[in-house]
Amino acid sequence: MKRMVLLGLLALGAVVVLLPFIWMVSVSLKPQAEIFTSSVTLLPRAPTLANYWQAITQTAIPRYLLNGALVTGGILVLQLLVSVPCAYALAHRRFRGRGVLFAAILAALLAPFHVTAIPIFLGLAQLGWLNSYTALILPFTATAFGLFLLRQAFARIPRDLIDAARVDGMGEMAIAWRIAFPLAMPTVIAFAIFSVTAHWNDLFWPMIATTDPQLATPPRGILFFRDAESGDAPGPLMAGAVLVTAPLVLAFLLSQRRFTQGLANTGLKG
């Protein structure tokens, strides 16, 4: 009995959490006449894919999705290229300034991106780089969080393994990429999920760095779309919202454990 009450309460909460998802999918499947009616229903009576067809063929949604993939991919690649060698050096090399560098990384963890936005905007404007993929990608090259996570993961690799590679004549850069990097793959994946999710969903920086709709990332694009249709086409708008949300939600449903680790537990374990 007690268990049924518990289950009931948890299920009720789950329905509330799901409501905006259900509504988004439901409206996206409704024909126009069913949306603009006085008798609103939760589920569509005559579901249709017309809204999706319209969103894909007559709007810039595909372009936004492509931009999202380019920007998040570009950011992740750049972050790893810069962070992996440095994190490896911090974990397995002794050099002057190592303590300072590590302290700097911890200090940088304290500054959220919002704090640096104005000067970075001014700098990019000075260089004439605003309104470009560069403006969307480059400012995120430095990732204190990524450096910290990777350093902790590399530090768990046994010293002997690294020394053996050195004896075999491997260069330091090669050790970082061909030994440390693959061994730390779970951390790399957790960081990748964190980074891609953060930048796919980000609205703050794309709103600042770009005004060109051709460069809009998915959240920015959805707002361009909404402001252009101004209430006339909620069906295609919801279809667009579904398409923007789908990649990450599907990835999450397919690998829940990795996702929760990437988004939540990384912060705890460190």
Binding site: V17, F21, P85, P112, I118, M238, N265, L268
Partner: protein
């Protein structure tokens, strides 16, 4: 240390160190300087104005309004999101013993808003709360309840945004609490039972709650830090309106800096925002070092 070693260290760490300086440290330093100037983006001149920008932020109605709204938002979202996160985690933890698969499924559902694109979900909330086409008001009218204007009533809008903020963050807190619950040793419950704590309630206060202390603190700080940054829902749903009723500090930063191009004033807002977050972190470290020693 020879030349080759130094070169290879430089090659490994140089790019990251340079990126940190250019993307973090230099901009932070510049923001602290700009906060004391009247610089406008695109304007030819720049002049020192001392503390004028800060006086404007704390002295003007608009500035105080943004700060107060943010504090209200944070003080609603923290207790509600942490409390609900804990309740859901306790429920799922208890359910996991008898119905592990159902528990896993519900956990995924509660976490879904964390992975979903908030802007797209906010657009869906907008449809859900739409005065005439939305489901919420249709249902509440059918039940004979009032059908308020969730996003355009000045007295209500901040609470609506808070509710969406809670909706979005409960799942994250739940996952952190579940990890905390899993780390509690079962032997502690046996010991508590020997000591006479036989009801679930007594066991919760004697074992679970104190053992979750560090987790609860961590969850509260994380929730506070992300609530302070509320921007996406404001920008999507209200643009700070109506009549600045839902203006928040990060949205004000965006508006003053990048719509009105008042870089100096926006930098002052940034500095205040940054110092508030630093204070929060300091508080976290202070409390952890003083209070929490269980392991």
């Amino acid at each position: 240390m020879n030349m080759r070693e130094s070169m290879s260290t430089l090659l490994l760490t140089g790019p990251a160190a340079l990126a940190l300086v250019l993307c973090v440290f230099l901009p932070v330093a510049v923001v602290f300087v700009l906060a004391f100037t009247n610089y406008q983006i695109g304007a030819p001149g720049i002049g020192w104005v001392g503390l004028d920008n800060f006086a404007q932020l704390f002295g003007s109605r608009m500035g105080r309004n943004a700060i107060l709204n943010t504090l209200t938002y944070v003080s609603i979202v923290i207790p509600a999101s942490v409390g609900l996160g804990l309740l859901v985690a306790l429920g799922l933890h208890a359910l996991a013993r008898s119905l592990p698969r159902v528990s896993e499924m519900l956990k995924a559902v509660y976490f879904l808003p964390v992975a979903a694109t908030l802007v797209a979900m906010a657009v869906s909330w907008q449809m859900l709360l739409h005065p005439s086409l939305g489901l919420v008001n249709t249902w509440s009218s059918a039940l004979g309840l009032p059908a308020p204007l969730w996003l355009s009533d000045r007295g209500l809008v901040l609470y609506t945004l808070s509710a969406i903020g809670i909706w979005q963050s409960v799942g994250y807190n739940m996952v952190l609490f579940l990890a905390g619950l899993a780390a509690i040793q079962p032997s502690l419950y046996d010991a508590a039972e020997v000591d006479g704590a036989t009801s679930g309630w007594a066991r919760f206060w004697l074992v679970t709650w104190p053992m979750l202390g560090p987790t609860t603190l961590f969850v509260m700080v994380v929730t506070a830090a992300s609530a302070f940054r509320v921007f996406e829902t404001v920008a999507t749903l209200t643009k700070g309106g109506p009549a600045f009723a839902s203006d928040t500090i990060v949205y004000a930063l965006y508006r003053e800096g990048f719509v009105y191009f008042k870089a100096g004033y926006a930098s002052a807002i940034t500095v205040v925002f940054f110092l508030a977050l630093l204070l929060l972190t300091a508080l976290q470290i202070w409390v952890i070092e003083r209070k929490v020693h269980y392991r």
